[in-house]
């Protein structure tokens, strides 16, 4: 068995008066590495030990103020720079409305920082391997006795400490030794246990994250309200005999403001229709836009029948022909609405007005190649 290293000596006292007196004497002695252990804070002990006032309030002050100004800057940046939204007619920088949040953040940060500073910096905790732990001395001073411990680890004349404790009236003066295992313990991040713990953590956290983001969020009821008690287009329904959720309008339904087209399959009769649009700049612009989108792929940008389809669809004849030029607007409207030969109907792509606007534009194109005498003046 290895020789144990001496930590120091401890002594016990029975009453608060005795411990105050003993602390007074120890503070005046040559032993500087001593401590007083009490089950509860004893009044006047700080004076007896001649301790300087705790500096922890400064931690609270500095952290609290920094957090407050930091939060103010953060809120300022959010509300005036990154995402300015007018709320209730208030200015972007509406300080009075921010006071509650600033207060809460100040208190929160200062409280956490003070407690963390106390535990980690001022106490150097957690420290559960201190040699005083698990001794009879510690069991007494956390319950009903008052004790003094003197740390002589680096001292040479250790007997003096023992004699001193006895001289000030301490009872049960005991030597305390370092625990060899604890004293020689070396912390290393490469310990297998620690690495195994890390591995379990990594697998656990990434697995949980994957499950949450890729599986859980798509299960009911977390699925973003995708499952709702309603029918969406194309959905099946068991309620109707044809099993369609979508219903056709009742026979004879007329769309609001639009009478049905009367000349389906009656091209000759349609010639009587009159273009309701006037030749204005916006109408022509609308016509050009729709012509370029829907007509130009086959008819060409200038209605010359120069298709861009490269033979994938039959080329239509030129619209500058005598025949088309002599058609009335109504007759062309019939072609757009009904289709003709291989040309399909464009009634779904173009509204009535848009079809009439396209006709105006086609007329303008025709006139550009076959201008009248009067146009040249």
């Amino acid at each position: 068995m290895d020789e144990k290293i001496l930590y120091g000596y401890t002594g016990l006292f029975d009453t608060p008066d005795e411990i105050i007196e003993a602390a007074n004497k120890t503070a005046e002695s040559k032993f500087k590495k001593y401590d007083v252990h009490t089950p509860y804070p004893v009044h006047g002990m700080d004076d007896a030990m001649k301790l300087k006032p705790s500096r922890l309030p400064y931690v609270a002050l500095v952290v609290g103020l920094s957090a407050m100004f930091g939060m103010l800057g953060f809120m300022y940046w959010i509300s005036t720079v990154d995402y300015p939204v007018i709320v209730g007619g208030k200015p972007f920088f509406s300080f009075p409305a921010w006071v509650p949040v600033l207060f809460e953040i100040t208190v929160l940060s200062a409280s956490i920082a003070t407690v963390v500073a106390m535990i980690a910096i001022f106490f150097k905790f957690p420290n559960i391997s201190h040699p005083l732990h698990d001794t009879e001395f510690m069991k007494s001073v956390t319950s009903d006795k008052y004790g003094i411990s003197i740390d002589v680890t680096d001292d040479e004349n250790v007997e003096e400490a023992k004699a001193f404790l006895e001289s000030i009236g301490a009872k049960n003066v005991t030597a305390i030794y370092w625990d060899n295992d604890e004293a020689n313990f070396k912390n290393s991040v490469l310990q297998p246990k620690f690495l195994a713990l890390l591995l379990v953590l990594v697998i656990g956290v990434s697995g949980a994250t994957y499950f949450t983001l890729n599986k859980l969020m798509f299960m009911a009821p977390f699925n973003w309200m995708r499952e709702q008690a309603k029918y969406i287009p194309q959905e099946k329904s068991t309620f109707f005999s044809d099993e369609f959720a979508m219903r056709n309008p009742v026979a004879g339904t007329v769309q609001r403001g639009l009478l049905p087209y009367k000349f389906t399959k009656k091209p000759e009769e349609s010639a009587a229709l009159i273009n309701p649009l006037e030749v204005t700049k916006p109408n022509l612009a609308l016509g050009k836009k729709k012509y370029d989108i829907y007509c130009s792929p086959c008819h060409g940008y200038f209605a010359e029948g120069d298709s861009r389809m490269r033979g994938q669809f039959p080329n239509p004849p030129s619209l500058h022909s005598e025949k088309v030029r002599n058609w009335s607007d109504g007759r062309i409207f019939n072609v757009l609405t009904d289709g003709q030969n291989v040309m399909p109907s464009y009634a779904y792509q173009l509204t009535r007005n848009e079809r009439w606007a396209v006709i105006l534009y086609v007329r303008a194109l025709q006139r550009s190649l076959n201008a009248k005498e009067s146009d040249l003046k």
Binding site: P39, L51, I78, A110, I128, H130, S143
Partner: protein
């Protein structure tokens, strides 16, 4: 000992008799050292069943949506918000006892502070459930915090509902820290007492290596003072901000400046009543009668009487202001409260909160346990109805008569309310068997002969 010092000791003696320091440890840690008896399991079974009822109602609510509740236009807040304000209010006694009474040097707080703080934490946890579920999709509540999200959106710092998020989460965190700091020396006591190896390991970790060193006590006391200094304005701010949820809106009956102090007084009122109710059982069951003395309970009853009168004053002042302001809608709202369709709730509130606590003027009643218990229960019933009256009457009849409607909570609403009580009391029961419900270190500091007599001074 000189006669002066004896006088001093008598002043601070809030613990009856002269228990030795070790006997204090023994009696307080007894519930932790012994196996729970049959009664404990029966109580736990009851609270767990209540929690189960609430849990089932909650699962239904989440699966089928908030349509399971009575909330609808125009009463969109309904029971979830009533319960939220009620539970946050219950949570106000703990920090008041541990922080404000600490700053006021009220030594009698030492025996009840730990338990009241525990109740604060559990009450705030219970309260937190309600706004979370009231959003309808609580798994998206992370959006309530300002973090750089994928939408590029930020929260609205001008909204009282957001202030609430910050206030309640700060309150919970600071209360929890306060509680834990208080527990550290007690964990050390338990660590050094226990013979059980598992318990020893747990207490060693939770006590962080506390050695009772005065070099530590010095900082510890300073931190306790700093935290009490922070918690005092914090506890007042939390219910102030809860009242802003109402007062910052423009609804008649809500848009008043009296709300913050009125809400804080009400919160302390209901919180003290709840703490008093539970302590009556705790001191009896665990034989803490000499630590949580009848004097302490009497002092709590005095606080209940005072805050009850503050609340009563607020009720009266609301009517006065409605009349004095000359605003017709405001006047209608208050007449409607007292004589409208919710008159039954209003008069339950007034009788429980204003009339019954007046019995505490009699010393005999203040010191009779069954009577004070009954009045405490009345106070909590009354305070629940106060939140109901405020939330529901104003919403159900606002400016536009065509949108008026009567609000009726559904069975799911009540099941969640029952569940919240189950949740709270389950935590409370577990607390009594896992942690020291009275602070051993703090109680020792105020026992007879615990402080030096300062003969040299």
């Amino acid at each position: 000992m000189s006669s002066d010092s004896l006088k001093y000791l008598e002043d601070i003696s809030v613990i009856e008799g002269r228990p030795s320091l070790r006997s204090i440890d023994d009696v307080i840690s007894k519930p932790l050292d012994t196996k729970p008896d049959k009664k404990y399991y029966i109580a736990l079974a009851i609270t767990l069943s209540m929690m189960g009822i609430g849990g089932i109602a909650l699962i239904f609510s989440l699966y089928y949506g908030t349509g399971m509740w009575g909330n609808n236009n125009p009463v969109g807040w309904g029971l979830p918000i009533v319960n939220f304000v009620f539970w946050v209010g219950i949570g106000h006694a703990g920090t008041l006892i541990s922080a404000i009474l600490f700053l006021l040097r009220q030594k009698w707080r030492n025996g009840i502070a730990r338990f009241a703080e525990g109740m604060t934490i559990f009450a705030v946890m219970t309260a937190g459930i309600f706004p979370a579920i009231h959003t309808g999709r609580p798994w998206l509540d992370g959006y309530l915090f300002p973090y750089p999200n994928q939408h590029g959106l930020w929260v609205n710092f001008n909204s009282p509902l957001l202030w609430d998020v910050f206030a309640v989460s700060t309150y919970f965190t600071v209360s929890f820290i306060f509680w834990y700091v208080g527990l550290i020396p007690d964990f050390a006591i338990l660590r050094d007492r226990t013979k059980n190896k598992i318990k020893k390991t747990i207490y060693s970790i939770t006590s962080l290596g506390w050695r009772g060193s005065n070099r530590h006590w010095q900082h510890y006391e300073m931190v306790y003072l700093v935290l009490a200094g922070f918690a005092t304005p914090l506890v007042l701010s939390v219910h102030t901000i809860v009242s802003f949820d109402f007062a910052v809106s423009i609804l008649p009956g809500w848009h008043t400046t009296i709300f913050p102090p009125y809400f804080v007084a009400g919160a302390v009122f209901s919180g003290f009543a709840m703490v008093q109710n539970v302590l009556i059982f705790i001191r009896k069951i665990f034989n803490f009668e000499h630590i949580i003395t009848l004097d302490t309970l009497e002092k709590m009853n005095k606080v209940i009487l005072l805050t009850g009168m503050l609340v009563g004053y607020a009720y009266g002042m609301e009517f006065f202001m409605a009349w004095y302001s000359g605003v017709q809608v405001e006047q209608f709202t208050f007449v409607n409260r007292a004589f409208g369709p919710y008159a039954w709730a209003y008069w339950i509130m007034v009788s429980c909160n204003v009339i019954f606590p007046q019995l505490f003027w009699f010393k005999k009643i203040r010191r009779t346990i069954p009577l004070m218990f009954v009045i405490g229960v009345f106070v909590n019933v009354g305070m629940w109805f106060e939140r109901f009256v405020i939330t529901v009457t104003s919403l159900s009849r606002d400016y536009l008569p065509s949108s008026w409607a009567y609000y009726t909570p559904t069975i799911t609403d009540f099941a969640i309310l029952i569940g919240s009580f189950g949740f709270f009391f389950t935590f409370l029961l577990l607390f009594t068997k896992t942690l020291p419900v009275v602070s051993m270190a703090e109680v020792k500091a105020v026992t007879y002969g615990a402080q030096p007599t300062h003969k040299d001074h």
